[in-house]
Amino acid sequence: MTSIIKTNSLTKIYGKKSSAFTALDNINLDIKQGESIAVVGKSGSGKSTLMHLLALLDSPSSGSVIINNVDSHKLSIKKMDLLRNQNFGFVFQQFFLSPHESVLDNVVLPLKIAGISRSERKKRGLEVLEAVDLADKSKDKAVNLSGGQKQRACIARALINNPTIIFADEPTGNLDSITGQMIENLLFQLNKDKNITLLIVTHDDDLANRCQRQIYIKDGSLIKEQ
């Protein structure tokens, strides 16, 4: 299996000198195409920080992230923007939906940024909304959705560019257990059907155990991998 993302002594230090805080310390990872990986750890252990670095949203203090065998230090800003826009799918810890815009408009945002035509956007937007079972809500304003529906809209947005990997930060954190279960099923089905790599940040052991591999982080260090 080909690696999609590798890290090499990845370290992130916030602040300077006396107030310096090591959020991530010397992390080495190898993520293969089609894998499902859980990043587990207590609050403040550095899970989101790791995800942001892997997704090229932030730059490491030292060490490197290697994407498709290319060191991210060698990528131009434009190339990184393009990777995030075309190859990555994001489900953030918060929903980040524009409340007063329609569900469809929210979901097609990555295509809009990519400069894809209105008609094509609508077609693909309705397809992904169908896939997350939200097609009937496409014209509703995002603010009127329930929590589970909002998270499904976020997953639809993450799917719309046919990503090779989805980064999901606590995708079930804000949901009740039944809705959470539904979201989990949706993600693992995508992993199985479309071979989309999953990187799920969670502190829920059940969700972590459904993934092929678990990475345990404590105080910024990788303590266990299984």
């Binding site: 949203l57 932030d58 995030r84 075309q86 980040f96 007063h100 945002l109 809009k112 940024i113």
Partner: protein, 437 residues
């Protein structure tokens, strides 16, 4: 992201905060209205004066005088040395400034100037003082009047009929509208093709009357005097009679000449012609030269007014800066999300700049529209009110080019005002924005 999508997004962001957007647009709107009105007054006056220039004579003509300095006590740097070979005529004007002698021009000057390239014709400017004008059918009623010459082809603003023609062998005359009722006509149309009698007395005290046909009635005008104009045939008849018995020294000596140049002469061709005249010892002034001081004054006043209008715009642009900073900080999370999803810095900058540009666009468009409405109302009040005697004068005029410049200037000002907040948005770190509560 495509430009249309950016525009729609910027527009919907403006609509989301209707009250705030409205107030910012109002500030720009006031500036645009003021700028448009101050400009409109200048343009209105200049357009009117330009239209009236035809009433000062042939637009393609130069008034030529000898280049020698006058010995006037006014504005002079002392007495000029006497030169017995120069032809002099003494002009009227023995006022407090004292009379001054002017170097006169003669037949040989006319010949010399006629040979300069691009000059079509040269005529002396006669000073004719006819005694009276009367209708041939009503000789009992005689009126004092003044008579002007036309040069080349004339383009006076006619109410009815046409300009007198210098190529016509019969004596022709045009009269101003104010003569119509005095001469006993009910309206201007009646006057056309009627014969008038012009009385003249020469230096020997002899009187004679001359006939001329009315070919046109001239529109009322602000510039130029209300006088009759005769064609070459009539003027020559009158002049040859009037100059009988003049002292020999004054015969065939003229204070000024009028040279008509080719109507297709370019601006550089004209200034070359004027330079040639200066070199040969003459001064050639166009009609535009003669009214250029008026234009300079109008321009200066317009600039001062514009300056005040621009101050209101500068104040309004601080409104834009403020509005956009608010918009940027409100939309921190949205900016972070868009950057995380791969939107470039340049596009984020464009998005917020477009918001500023749209505010500028709407403010300036509405301002110009409103100024045009004010202009209509003011013009219709004034043309029926205190400007009643000046047909064709609109106090406010809004040429398309000026309005376009105003829109472009205001959009540019809005863009500059928006640049700072837009830069702030573009520099935002997506992570910080995503962590922002």
């Amino acid at each position: 992201m495509k430009l249309t999508d950016l525009l729609l997004m910027a527009n919907s962001s403006l609509f989301r905060n209707k009250a705030r957007t409205f107030l910012t647009v109002v500030a720009i709107f006031i500036g645009a209205t003021t700028l448009s009105l101050t400009n409109g007054i200048g343009s209105g006056l200049k357009a009117y004066i330009n239209r009236q220039l035809g009433n000062l004579g042939n637009p393609h003509s130069l008034t030529i005088t000898a280049n020698a300095k006058t010995a006037s006590s006014f504005n002079s740097s002392g007495l000029q040395p006497y030169n017995p070979n120069q032809t002099r005529i003494v002009s009227a004007g023995g006022g407090p400034n004292g009379s001054h002698s002017i170097v006169g021009l003669t037949k040989s000057d006319i010949n010399k100037i006629s040979k300069i390239p691009n000059v079509v014709s040269v005529q002396p400017n006669y000073i004719l003082s006819p005694d009276y004008i009367a209708l041939s059918s009503n000789l009992a009623k005689k009126y004092q009047f003044s008579l002007g010459q036309i040069f080349g082809t004339s383009s006076l603003d006619m109410a009815v009929g046409e300009n007198a023609s210098n190529s016509s062998a019969t004596p022709e005359i045009t009269i101003p509208t104010s003569y119509v009722s005095s001469l006993g006509f009910n309206n201007a149309i009646q006057a056309i093709n009627k014969t008038v009698i012009i009385g003249m007395t020469n230096a020997l005290g002899q009187s004679h009357s001359f006939q001329a046909t009315i070919v046109g009635v001239q529109q009322k005008t602000l510039v130029g005097s209300a006088q009759a104009y005769g064609n070459l045939t009539l003027i020559n008849e009158l002049h040859s009679f009037e100059s009988q018995g003049l002292p020999v020294a004054q015969e065939g000596v003229y204070a000024s000449l009028t040279a008509v140049y080719k109507s297709n002469l370019s601006a550089t061709g004209l200034s070359n012609l004027q330079a040639t005249l200066t070199k040969d010892g003459y001064t050639g002034k166009t009609i535009q030269d003669r009214v250029s001081t008026v234009f300079t004054i109008i321009n200066a006043v317009t600039y001062v007014l514009d300056f005040f209008a621009i101050i209101t715009l500068v104040a309004a642009s601080f409104g834009i800066i403020n509005t956009l900073f608010m918009s940027v900080s409100e939309r921190t999370r949205e900016i972070g999300l868009m950057k995380a999803l791969g939107m470039s810095k340049a596009k984020i900058f464009t998005l917020f700049s477009l918001e500023a540009v749209l505010i500028g666009f709407w403010g300036s468009m509405l301002g110009i529209l409103f100024a045009n409405i004010i202009g209509r109302v003011v013009n219709s009040i004034t043309t029926n009110g205190f400007l009643k005697d000046f047909p064709g004068l609109s106090l406010l005029s809004f040429p398309g080019i000026n309005s376009t410049i105003i829109v472009v200037v205001i959009i540019a000002v809005a863009f500059l005002a928006g640049a700072l907040p837009a830069r702030r948005a573009a520099q935002k770190d997506p992570i910080e924005a995503l962590r922002y509560e």
